[in-house]
Amino acid sequence: MSIALFLSVFLIAACGLIYELIAGTLASYLLGDTLFQFSTIIGCYLFAMGIGSYLSRFLNRGLVARFVSIELMVGMVGGFSSSLLFLAFAYTEAFRLVLYVVVILVGTLVGLEIPLLMRILKERFQFRELVSHVLTFDYLGALGASLLFPILLVPKLGLVRSALVFGIFNAGVALWSTYLFREQIGRAQALRIGCFVVLAFLAAGTLFADRISNAADNSLYADEVIFSRNTPYQRIVLTKWKDDLRLFLNSHLQFSSRDEYRYHEALVHPGLAALPGARRVLVLGGGDGLAVREILKYPSVQNVTLVDLDPEMTHLFSTHPVMSDLNQHSLTAPRVHVINTDAFRWLDTNTEQYDFIVADFPDPTSYALGKLFTTAFYRLAAKHLASGGLIVVQSTSPLFARQSYWCIVQSVKEAGLRVYPYHVYVPSFGEWGYVIGSFAPYEPPRQLPSGLRFLSTNNVGELFVFPVDMQPVPAEPNRLNDQVLVRYYEQEWKDVAH
């Protein structure tokens, strides 16, 4: 009996610390400045626990029922805390407000727990023994949680599921308490029903954690993080959930292994298959090697040069067993040369000519990245096109960011190229857009390499047909001195999120 009692102390202590750690980690992930986030969150949390302990004196009757309800509340608020915070970050401007409200709420409730429990138990134990036991298990719970959190929870469950699982523990303690102290409560049945309802909610949350985090856009932390590194250039995170492998750069999804073939086949083949005998190919960006994997399906291609800024990115996709399986060891193929440098500068200092150029850069989320989508950039890239050559540009979503998409098309056109816009549906991205630029008239290919999973000679022409809701809209070209694209893009994705 007494062991069972103190085990619940252990559990609720662990839950309390977990919520605090989750809030701190999440705030550091999303906002940066770890010191500030952890420091203020711990401070607020401890202060809120103080409030809770103080408030406990005002609870007089029906202590066990109160304790059970408080456990259920902690379970609900704490359990859904990381989901709530992710969603708040994705959809509102008030992330900080939500963060501190959640922290203070959970802290206050957790602060009520131990004083109430000690008062409930004071009849059963001597005070000396009681204080000693409760505090011992409280500390042990904190230790367990703080070890479990970085070693097991974050890597294996992710932040969304970890919070939910510990919410279930809280609700479990509540349910268990209704049996442990059954003689001290009058309406145990009603409380138990409450416990089951909360448990059902949390269990459902755990099952739908994927959707919650997908909805929050920055879903990576919900899945198992199998690789995470801050390079001087970006934060690379790889997650895995069942057979779905996902790459995130600075929290932006780059691909999901379930459907990346759609994206990469559509990126490479409409252009390259229309260039029989293409020998020299240049890939700008695309350090994951997936576009190169598609390019290597052409025996005529003798030489692929890949220019990606981040050596850690190309190293990861050359050496990591899972990653290099996915790109079929394309980055270490003898025909492929990897250069780690800034693409714009490299083009500027180089005179090589290519039959096919792939510009596969991250979306223009900043003025720095926006430079890679300017008329100046396309003009320079066009100088590297061999006669009859083609360039294809990853151009964000023509559905979610319609004006951004047509702005990129306009920018390629402004650089003196004919433009051939097209799009494809990639489930993890939505509708996605590309544009082919060329000096000579272009026609979709009549032949494709064998073994493609998405493209066929039947559907390749359809990619160039735009439904009404993705038709061209007026857009200025994006210039170095006037990066309208960055402003269009920010506005349009903000509208999507709201």
Binding site: G32, L35, M49, F344, R345, Y367, A368, L372, N481
Partner: protein
Amino acid sequence: MISRRQFVAAPALIGPFLIGLGRKTDRRIAGGFVNDSFPLGHRLRDHGAFRAPTQQLRVPVVIVGGGMAGLNAAWHLDKRGFRDFVLLEMERQAGGNSRWGESDVSKFPWAAHYVPVPAKGESLARELFEELGVFRDGKWDERVLCFDPQERLFINGHWQEGIEPEDGASPRDRAQYRRFMEKINEFRASGHFTVPMEHGAKPSSLDRMSMADWLAQQGFDSAPLRWYINYACRDDYGALARDTSAWAGVQYFASREPEEKGPLTWPEGNGWIAGRLIEKLKRYLRTGDAVYRVERSRNKFRVLTEQAEYMADAVIWAAPTFLASYIVEGAPRAEGFQYSPWLTANLTLDRIPERNNPEPAWDNVIYDSPTLGYVNATHMSLATHIDRTVWTFYWSLAEHTPEEARRLLVAKDWDYWKEAILNDLARAHPDIRQCVASMDIMRIGHAMARPAPGFVFSKERERWLKPAGNIFFANSDLSGFSIFEEAQYRGVEAAKGALRLVGRA
């Protein structure tokens, strides 16, 4: 429960960060004063001892001063096929206010760092830029138009885009901004505010009052608007609005109407223009060749430097006009000419400050600071990722009289200015001291002409516009203010005069 967990969690998590911070704050910053020109300047002023030249050369035209005016005078002479001239510069590096420096991180300017995109009427500037290959078929090369984002202002604890204070501006402030711009549009429509100024300037009562008085007279009392206009005066003239002619204050705003988002700029600022001109004209250029005396001998000049005595038919005086009275025989004192002293510093950062959002702009200004903020030299880089950079920090010391400010510049040591600059920057970048590896400071005693009230349409200025016999004055200070286009115009006009004189017009 509270106190216990505090012990467990807080020190363990925070401790290592605090230790890390403690170690970094004592960073030593290298640097010193560079390019000091006043020792030589004072020797010239005080008629100090100079070695007599050993050789005598006959050169029909001598240009004194290798800044923008002198370089453009030379550009014009060369373009007209006239080759018999020399361009004498006292410093080791020509360029004057368009000098620049270079390190393994970036090129950077030492003073002038941009040219507003020349409008259609500015044919002279367009001609030069066409020749330098950045203006073709009526289009500007995108790579020399200042990249987006151009400007930002640190105000109310954070950065806003643009330097016109928007953050915290009340509806009343905004109404005054609008009314001010309407006024400016009226002035622009008058056609009296042009670049170069000589093409349109008409004597105006505006010149008889200060910009601050004019603002008060017009009922402009919005604090952010006044800050903004004061900033403009400090930036272009090195003077507060109360020390600037209202005509010049209006000229700053009303003379421009660019068709293209700009300005034109380069990592080394206007040093790029100077560098290209020096490259073109190097065969005429003698650097480190200070002219210490210009004597008249019958209808010719003897131009004396330590290297040579040049016998010339015509002299183009492209050095600051006030220097003529110390060096040119018989030249009167340059009454009414005032010059603002400046301090510029180039800071090498091997770390980019944190909390730097929105993205760093080219021009970064701190509201309510006595300084002018900084320009980021790597902003014009094509690279998407920058991990080291150079900031050029500008300070026109406008709240002092020019004489006081010059005394201050000489009296205070490098450490004093370094601390003042870091303290100023720390308002916007708390971690600046951990980011700066070195700071070189340049002190310029007579950096730019100051259009004090009454000067632009004064008899004194008018007197210097006419050539004194065979001396043609060319410095931009003849316009009352020092900007590239005025220097270019004055230089070319003087060159035309000299060509007429030597019979080659």
